[in-house]
Symmetry: C2
Subunit: 126 residues, 2 copies
C-alpha cells in the first residue's frame, strides 16, 4: 500500500484522497496521540485485568482486605497460583500489602483499579 504517489502536475489521484479531508483528518488525529511509551504503559496496565485469576483477586480486594490464604480459600485456588498473581499485581502497583506476623494482608492501592473493574463489568453485563 503506497499512499504517497503524486502525478507530475502535483495532483494526487489516490482514492483515499478523494474524500477531501483524509489527509487533514489523519494529521488532526495524530496530534492527539499519546507517546509510544504511554501506549506501552497503558497496554501493560490493562494486561493486568486480562486474566481471570487476577480479576478475581481484584474483585475480592474491592470488597475487603484479605490475606493470601483467605484468597486461596475464597477462589479455591492453589497457593502458588495466588502468590504468583499477587506478585504480578504488586509489581504493577495494583495491590499493596502489610505484613502481620507470618501473614500478609493485601489490599488495593488505588480507587482507579476498582473503577476500571466496575466499568468493565458494567459493560459486559449490559
Amino acid at each position: 500500500m503506497e499512499m504517497k504517489d503524486k502525478n507530475l502536475d502535483g495532483t494526487n489521484d489516490d482514492i483515499c484522497e478523494v474524500f477531501d479531508s483524509h489527509e487533514d483528518t489523519v494529521n488532526r488525529v495524530k496530534e492527539r496521540m499519546p507517546s509510544e511509551e504511554e501506549y506501552l504503559d497503558l497496554s501493560e496496565f490493562f494486561k493486568i485485568f486480562s486474566n481471570p485469576t487476577r480479576l478475581k483477586i481484584i474483585s475480592l480486594l474491592a470488597v475487603d482486605d484479605l490475606c493470601v490464604c483467605d484468597i486461596c480459600e475464597a477462589l479455591d485456588l492453589n497457593q502458588t497460583t495466588v502468590s504468583n498473581q499477587l506478585r504480578i499485581l504488586r509489581a504493577n502497583n495494583i495491590v499493596k500489602f502489610q505484613k502481620e506476623g507470618k501473614m500478609a494482608r493485601y489490599s488495593l492501592t488505588d480507587l482507579h483499579i476498582e473503577m476500571i473493574y466496575k466499568v468493565g463489568l458494567e459493560h459486559i453485563l449490559e
Copy 2:
C-alpha cells in the same frame, strides 16, 4: 496449604482463624463474586486493551472515524497488522464499520470503550 484440619474437640488452631472474622470475611466476600463466565468475559474484554496497536487504533477512533489506510498511515504500520487487529476489535464489538465503495470506515461501537481508555490513560499519567 491445608486450612481445614480440625482438632478432636472441634476447635481449629489454624493461625488464619485466630483473627476472629476470617471465615466470615471470606464468606461475605465470596457472596459478591460474579460468575466464572462473567470473569472470563471480563478478562477477554480487557485483553483487547492490553495490546499497544489495538490501543492506538482505539485512541484514533476516539477522535474520528477512519478508513483502514488512514489508520495505517497515522500509525505507520503495515496493512496486514492493522487489518488483523481490526478483525479482533470487530469480533469483540469494540469497533464497527461501514463499507463505502472499496473503503471501510471504522468507528467505535460504544462510549464505554472510550471511557475505559481514558480512565486508564489518566491512571498511568498520574
